[in-house]
Amino acid sequence: MALQNGSLLSSDRKCVRSPRMKNHKLIVSQSLIRSYRASIQDELQKHAYNFVLCDPGLPDHPIVYASDGFLEMTGYSRDEVLGRNCRFLQGRDTDKRAIVEIREAIREERDCQIKILNYTKAGKPFWNLFHLAPVFSQQDGRVVHFVGVQLPISSKLAARKDGHLTGLELSFDELEFEEHFDNPSCKNYHLSEEDKQRAFAAVKAVLQELANSSCKGVSSMRSKSFSEGVIPPGFVATSLLLALTRIPHSFVLTDPHLPDMPIVHASLEFLELTGYTREEVIGRNCRFLQGPDTDLAPIEELRSSISEGQTCTVRILNYRKNKEPFWNSLHISPVRNSSGKVVSLFLTHSLKCSPFQVAYYAGIQVAVSHSSEEDEGRARMQQLGTLGAIKVAVRSIQTGAVLRKSKTIS
């Protein structure tokens, strides 16, 4: 480790994007089109609030929409922030516990309102009243996006007894940049009810806009049946999703409890490998990858392994969406969750009945060239590493969703 001289650098902060988001412009726009009408960007533009929308189903939970107010507040351009995780707002003196609290709220799919120290592009710190709220799909109960609203606080606000401000359109120029973040009136500034209400109002307005513009139905609350414990098929909790999107390889999770064992999650790399979009694969059985020249032998091997709850690796000829064939070294394995001994319906009629809950069947793809053995070795290592990461992700105890009623904004 090179030793640093510890001096504070005053240059502009680096704003780094995940290396997997190569087509970030396309991916980001798809994230919005998937859930809302095309006019959503114009609709959201009408609001003068500072806010972002983030998509937990994409690598590194990136921003997919940023309001003008947000850009003005932070000093970045739209292109600099789209496709990037919000952590660029954090800095040296941001309280780690505040970050943990936001992270836990995301994982638990609930609202969170917190005062956190953020930094502009130029490196100037400012206190931020940050309000996070999930947007739920009415269809499958997943969190489609997270809304993050920012209300900058200054000691000027703290000092003002009358608290009269023109809503969140408060211009950032009015805040004194020269203030040292250590300014006690900032740190000890107790959020007034008015501040909190203002943040609530902003979040509510944004959520309303999203609900109005949604094509498949989103809302700030889960559907009634979900809250009563009726989980729609194919539901994936955000905490699991966040862990799965960290895995930078091609894989799918299928649900053996649903008819025809459909895909419930497909990684970005899988979509890139096969050329399909997320909508085109979720809910379908993997056999759409097979084609005219696919041998029957590996298909049979897969089928029999699955019926016995076993792992197996096959080399199978698959086809991309554009009909181009490729050799796929496919490794499948059952994956358990954290709970213990529940007999799975799926496996009861099998001779090798496992008493343990199989949550998913994972399928990991590595495109290999026809011949080489070296490719096999490398593929194997990648597959097993990916499988291990999937197991860790699925094993982590899913909080939120099923275990906790989501708090709502009323």
């Binding site: 680096k14 780690k96 609290e101 895995i247 343990f356 990916t386 982590s396």
Partner: protein, 420 residues
């Protein structure tokens, strides 16, 4: 001399065998078998911390190659029957409450044999070659050697010739989670279980290389439920927040070098939290070890948790074993037979009996951990120690990059090199 009867945790399949290993021909990790062997080798690159104390990782927000290297071999080891039980079959749950303590029912972890007498009043004990140590472990329990590369890139060689005393990563055959490993610095040097800056730094580097907030390393000193007196750290993945990571803290020192020291508040165990801030790992390790040496000198057992990619380090002095030896621990707590080592203190509690697991509550966890905490008086002394050691001058010349692996050399074998 204070002792307690304890059923030790088996971490290696070789722990129960008492045969000696001279010229063993058994492919162990001793000086008879390692030099000249061809072993998997992971070289971790230098990672810069940027001015905000964050790792400038090229693998932003995604799993690192280290995850693949550890988890990838796990399934194979499982297939080879090396684990004493299947940890994925162990029921785990989050206890309802503010902190979310994590309880696991694990009936297989503790050996059901005659308990041994264990001396708990000496934090520093000399290395005993006759007792079990990691040189006696078979190479099949090893995952890879873990050394520093000479640039900022990481490499993986599946068959590198090893000379000198490597740092090794071995599986824990009684895992409490998927991917539970042991890091043994300079295995052939037979270092007893105590910390020095360079060995501690190795553990921090591993946390940084894993680049995941869910991969944590832990250290238990003797007297704080270390099982084996051969220097080792434990590590595993858990995709949940540890209760101690959520606990509020109070800043007690913002060092001129840039790191920060906090005191835990509203948590059953009194502890100190270090955050790297705008400092770097070398400085952080230096000052933490100063405090640990002070604890070792005062014979106070302690546990350390390395979390958040190495940027957050928790130090817990404890006195449970001493209380146990003096018969001062509540009987109900004793009956659950939980040894509160670093994972338990952090909030991941492994229970042996089904009824304890079913009845487990946040209140039980709090009561158990409250017994672990040192007294106010002792803790105040330790805070004073933190302040006084913070005044020492950090000598940069002592921490040249090659400190970790001064006499390890290796040759690559051409193929099977994966640059990551």
């Amino acid at each position: 001399m204070l002792t307690i009867r304890r059923i030790p945790t088996i971490v290696s399949n070789y722990q129960e065998s008492l045969e000696s290993k001279i010229g063993c021909g058994k492919n162990c990790l001793g000086s008879c078998c390692i030099p000249g062997a061809r072993l998997p080798l992971y070289l971790f690159g230098n990672q810069e911390l940027d001015e905000h104390g964050e790792i400038q990782s090229k693998e932003l927000g995604q799993n690192s190659f280290l995850d693949s290297a550890i988890l990838g071999q796990w399934a194979d080891k499982q297939a080879e029957g090396l684990f004493r039980y299947d940890v994925t079959a162990c029921d785990t749950k989050v206890l309802p409450g503010k902190y979310g303590f994590i309880a696991q029912l694990n009936e297989g972890r503790h050996l059901k044999k005659r308990p041994t007498e264990f001396r708990v009043d000496q934090v520093l004990q000399p290395f005993d070659h006759k007792k079990f140590n990691f040189t006696k472990v078979g190479q099949e329990e090893m995952l890879f050697c873990f050394e520093q590369s000479n640039n900022d890139k990481s490499y993986y060689h599946s068959k590198a010739y090893i000379r000198g005393s490597p740092n090794v990563v071995v599986i824990n055959v009684s895992p409490i989670e998927y991917g539970h490993i042991l890091l043994v610095p300079r295995v052939l040097d037979c270092i007893p279980q105590h910390l020095e800056t360079d060995t501690f730094l190795l553990a921090i580097y591993m946390a940084a290389e894993a680049s995941s907030p869910f991969f944590r390393l832990g250290y238990n000193s003797l007297g704080a439920f270390a099982t084996i007196n051969h220097l080792h750290f434990q590590a595993y993945y858990l995709g949940n927040c540890f209760p101690v990571e959520k606990a509020p803290t109070k800043l007690i020192l913002h060092h001129y070098k840039g790191f920060k020291v906090y005191q835990l508040e509203n948590y059953p165990v009194k502890g100190i939290v270090y955050e790297v801030g705008e400092s770097n790992f070398e400085e952080l390790a230096f000052y933490i070890i100063k405090v640990c040496k002070g604890l070792q000198g005062r014979n106070i057992p302690y546990n350390i948790l390395i979390a958040n990619k190495g940027c957050q380090i928790f130090l817990f002095p404890q006195c449970y074993a001493e209380k146990q030896a003096r018969g001062e621990v509540d009987l109900e707590i004793l009956e659950t037979q939980v040894n509160p080592a670093v994972w338990e203190i952090s909030g991941h509690i492994v229970l042996k009996r089904k009824e304890d697991f079913e009845r487990a509550t946040e209140e039980y966890a709090w009561r158990l951990l409250a017994e672990v905490s040192v007294s106010e008086k002792v803790f105040d002394e330790i805070i004073k120690l933190v302040f006084s050691s913070a005044e020492d001058k950090f000598d940069a010349k002592l921490y040249h990059k090659s400190l970790i692996s001064t006499d390890i050399t290796y040759y690559t074998v051409g193929e099977n090199v994966i640059m990551v």
